[in-house]
Point group: C2
Chain length 341, copies 2
Amino acid sequence: MDLLLTGSRTPLADLTTPALVVERTLLEANLEKMAAVLPGTRLRPHVKAFKTTALARRMAELGHTGFTCATVREVEGMAAAGLGADLLLANEVLDCRRLGAVVDAGARVTVAVDSQLTVDAAGAGGVGEVVVDVNVGLPRCGVEPEQAGALADYARTKGLAVRGVMGYEGHLMLIEDPADKARQVEESMVKLLKASADVGGDLVSAGGTGTFDVNTWAGEIQAGSYCLMDTTYAKAGAPFAQALTLLATVISANPGGWFVADLGLKALGMDHGNPSIEGAAVWYCADEHTVFSADGAHFSVGDRIRVSPAHVDPTVALHERLHVVDGDVVVETWDVDLRGW
Amino acid sequence: MDLLLTGSRTPLADLTTPALVVERTLLEANLEKMAAVLPGTRLRPHVKAFKTTALARRMAELGHTGFTCATVREVEGMAAAGLGADLLLANEVLDCRRLGAVVDAGARVTVAVDSQLTVDAAGAGGVGEVVVDVNVGLPRCGVEPEQAGALADYARTKGLAVRGVMGYEGHLMLIEDPADKARQVEESMVKLLKASADVGGDLVSAGGTGTFDVNTWAGEIQAGSYCLMDTTYAKAGAPFAQALTLLATVISANPGGWFVADLGLKALGMDHGNPSIEGAAVWYCADEHTVFSADGAHFSVGDRIRVSPAHVDPTVALHERLHVVDGDVVVETWDVDLRGW
C-alpha cells in the first residue's frame, strides 16, 4: 500500500485544530531507516507509541510481522485488523479472558508474566503462551533474574508454553553518551541473558527507540516511538526525524507580549515537559491552551502553527485521528483505533 | 432522573481496569451542595471538567440550564443531547462554522471574543451572540479591561449581540488563605466589572470551583470540577468530596518493596502531579504503570485499588466511560461523549 494512493486529498488548511499531523516523507524515512538496521522480526514494533493499526500495517508490509502491545485493547484491535500473527502483550494481566477470546479467534497471543498469579491468570484466561518478564534495572514489573527459571518451570507445570524472556531497560533510553549507554545496556542485558539461560525458549525481547542500535544482546527490539518521534528522543540523539507535530491555531495575542494557541495539555503528553514551537518560547500549557512568546518568529491571531510534543506516546493516545500529510495536502487520515482499555 | 433507577447493575468487580469510577452518593452530595450555594443560573457548569452529557443533564435537572464549554465539540455534543438552551463557549475560535451549524439547528450559542478577528469569525460563522473575554490577571486569553468597550462596539457594528463579559481568575483558584483569596478575587473582579460597565449586557461570567464561594461579584460562576473533584482542589480546601477515583489492579509486586498498578499517565492527568493511593506512597507514573510502595496499607498482586487523580479535567478526558457506583455495584455507565475536537 503506497500512502499516496489511498485516502482523500483534503487541504491541510481545512483541518480542525488541534490535529495530529504526520509528514509522510519523514515517516517513511524513519520506517525505512529502522527496517535497514533491524529487518524483519529483529524489530517487534511497539504499538503503544502510535495506537494506529493503519501504521502497524505499513510496518508489517516492511517485514515486521510480530508486534508488541501494552494493553488488552491493543491486542484485540491488532488481531481484529488482521495483524495478529504474533502479538506480545509486554505487560502483566490478571484477567486474561479477553486475551483468550482473541486466541480463540485465531490470533497468536503471548503474555508477559512475573508471578505465579499472572501465570495462573494466563492459563485461566486461555492464553497458552507466555514470556517471563525480567527486572533488568527499571523499578517496575519483572521478576528478579535469579527467579526467572523457577517461574518458567511453574508455567510449564501449568501446561503453558514459555517462549522466552523479556526485559525493558527503560531507565537507559535517554542516556546521551553512546559509550556510557552501551556499557549500561550491556550490564542490563547480561541480567536478561542469564535469565534466558535459565528459562529457555527462543525469545529474548527488550529495548526501545533509545537503545535500538546499541542493544545487540536482545534477539528482538520493542521500539515504537521511532516512527513518529518526539523532542525528548531527538534531544537524546535518536537518529529519526520529527515526523509528528500538532497543527494548532493562534487564537489570542496580548499586548503584554504573549500568544495563545488552541491546544493544551488535553492534546499533549506533558510528562516529558512542555512542547516546542519553532521561533517561540513556551510559557505553559493549560487544559485547552498553550501560552507562548515570540522568540525569533512572528505570530498573529489566526496563524496556523506546528507544535512538537515532548512525549509521543501519551500525545497520540489523546487524539481520535492521525492525518498523514504531504506538503499542504492530507493524503490519508488514520483512526487512532487502539486507544482505551 | 434518579441515578438508581436507570442503567445496569454490574458488579464493580467485573469492570476492566483502569476504569473511571464515581461514587453516586458523593456526586449527588456535591451537586446538591453547589446548587444550594449557587442555585439555578447563578451556576453555569463548565462541562470541560467532566465531558459527559449524562452528568450535565443531572445538573440541568437541578436548575443549572446554562452551560460553559471549552471546545466546539463540547458545544456540538451538548446541543445534540438536548442541552443547548444557553451554551457559552468560553474560548476564542477562529473558525466558527461548526458553531453556526449548531445555532442553525436551534441551540443558543454564545462565543467569547478578545480581538476583532474573533468577532469577525463569529459573524462569518453564523454565531450571532458574543461575550467579551477580559484579562483579569491570568496570562492567557482576554482583552485588557480598558479595551473591552471598544471591542464590544466593534462587535455591535458588525451586527452581533454582545451579552456581556467573562473573565477567568484561574491564577487564584488554589490560594489556601480565604482572606487572601477573597482580596485577590475582588481585585480581579473589579477589572471585570469595569469592563462590564463599558461593554454593557447582562452577563458577568467568571470563576471556578476554587472561587465559587468568594466570587460574589460575578453574576454567574463557571465551575465544573466540584462535582467529581481531585486531590489538588481538596488540598486547596474546596468543600466537596472526592467522588471520582480510578479503579486499578495491582499487577506486580517486587521483593525490593514496590508494587505496580495497571494505570499510568495515559489514564491520569499529570499536570498537577502524581495521583494518590490510600496507604501508599506513589513513586512515579509511566505510560501504563503506576509504581508505589506501601505506606500503612497492605498490597498484593490481584488487589483492586482506588487511585485519586491530582487533576480531574484531563483525567476524565482520557477515558471513554464513567461508571457510577453505589457500594460494590455499578448503577450506571455514562459515555464520556464530549471528548475530542
